[in-house]
């Protein structure tokens, strides 16, 4: 017979490793309250079953659909407005922190202490802006300005300002230094050196990163609605609380379509502008 059983030569080691991993995993399972049987207890099964059954019948009434479309537009608008405000902060910050425009580095390779200090301080501010998750910013702003899209716009503006400025500076610094260095060395001011020396080479990359971030912002603004920052997420949260499965289902479909559309538009834009 060809089908003799060949035991795995390494089975002892594999078994030992599995047991050790499971032992290490156990406290984690306890901490995350991993109790899958809870899912199958009759009460929660009935609740989830009813909710899921409603899912199969998305609400398609005209009035409701119009509301969903309005909220979807609001989600897009929050992302776009937030990103525009973020650019207002990110572009000046990039010009300030990028080492490509440092005149004291030319030739000597060392930056003036004062310039170094300013750049480092601004970098830390940007790190702070982007390390607080956008959802936490949104939660804070909801406390300040109340429920509604303003909180979402501000949250996106702050987080993305930190992200964009950092990545813009990195893109500029990773491009070829020759053009901007010659301009600066021959007495050009910083802004022309940026516009004519550094930008032409990296503009495609800058644009494509911005468009990618816009796509991320749309996803983010839908999610931020869950803490009350307006848009599709806020309506979805309300419908989930009321256990209206049909409404949630419609909005989820809308959300998936929106993300797919943003993906498509972003690909198109990147090919066109990049």
């Amino acid at each position: 017979m060809a089908s003799t059983v060949h035991p795995d030569p390494a089975w002892r080691g594999r078994l030992k490793a599995t047991v050790v991993c499971l032992l290490l995993l156990y406290p984690m399972l306890v901490a995350s309250e991993f109790k899958p049987w809870l899912l199958f207890d009759p009460q929660s099964l009935a609740a989830a079953g009813g909710f899921l059954a409603d899912f199969l019948r998305p609400v398609l009434k005209g009035e409701f659909l119009a509301m969903v479309l309005r909220e979807t537009w609001q989600t897009v608008a929050i992302a776009t407005a937030g990103l525009s405000l973020a650019l207002l902060g990110a572009i000046p910050a990039t010009v300030l922190i990028t080492e490509r425009l440092s005149i004291s580095t030319l030739g000597t390779g060392r930056m003036r202490p004062a310039a170094r200090l300013v750049r480092q301080l601004l970098r830390w501010v940007l790190v702070l802006l982007r390390s607080v998750p956008e959802l936490v910013w949104a939660l804070l702003f909801v406390r300040i300005v109340g429920l509604g899209p303003t909180a979402g716009v501000l949250a996106i503006a702050l987080t993305y300002c930190g992200m964009l400025a950092k990545v813009y500076a990195e893109i500029l610094e990773s491009s070829d230094a020759h053009a901007s260095d010659s301009l600066l060395a021959n007495g050009s001011a910083r802004l022309p050196a940026l516009l004519y020396g550094a930008l032409p080479e990296s503009s495609a990359e800058l644009v494509s990163y911005t468009v990618y971030r816009w796509e991320c912002a749309i996803r983010g603004s839908a999610v931020m609605g869950f803490v009350g920052a307006g848009g599709l997420g806020q309506r979805m949260e309300e419908s989930t609380k009321m256990m209206a499965g049909g409404e949630v289902s419609t909005m989820l479909i809308m959300f998936v379509l929106l993300v797919a559309l943003a993906d498509l538009v972003s690909k198109l834009l990147r090919r066109r502008l990049g």
Binding site: L38, F51, T80, V132, P133, F226, M236, M243
Partner: protein, 263 residues
Amino acid sequence: MKPPLPPAPPRAPGTWVLLASLAALVVASFASLPLQLAAFFTPEAVTSMREFLAGFTPPETTTPFLARTLTALWETLAMSLVGTLLAVLGGLVLALPAAGRAGRIARSLTRALLNVLRSIPELVWAALLLVAAGLGPFAGTLALAAHTSGVLGRLFADALENVEPLPEASLRTNGAAALAAFLYATLPQALPQMLSYTLYRWENNIRAAAVLGVVGAGGLGQMLKYHLSLFQMQSAATVVVAMLLLVAAVDAASFALRRLLTR
């Protein structure tokens, strides 16, 4: 005297249309949103903002509260790890049909399922799963698992499809069983890549788990939401600092690990 500038290169009319529609999108966004940005620059707003911000300092540092924060931190970490492990299992199960091992139709159907799993964010999953799993970290764990299964399933399927098919084929023609041929020929080739995807997703999931709680799914987020809704700003400040420390630690660890692995 300045020499005349050379003429600007011509632009395709399509580009102008594109730029104009982008500008229109930005204007329409600002116009359609009921933003009260101007209200921020009134003197009253500035003082109330200052009072609000001053409320955060100093962060609460009593021992029992720090112990609670630490517990929530541990819970966040546990959620992310268990969620990622569940996602590895789910991703593997879905990756096999998605890599075309059960025929064309199964491949496109599983890929569509993976797309849906992936395009719904963790937070939305958490809000939905609260219905079935109740408040607490278990819902968050399942939410991370659901979203990450979609991501990892897709990545695993691509990794499996890109593997050299010859070793498995030769084992099969020499009479090895299908499972054994897969386990000893295809899986070992794809494993390093799958492992690095998993680590990367775990890193993402720690960050996601920290905020997932704001819908009631456990961990640091739930604590933050709780204290903010009671306007206990000093406690909230401690939780935010804990979140920042967690994210910074994860970033540093992944940076160090990558250095170590690529050297």
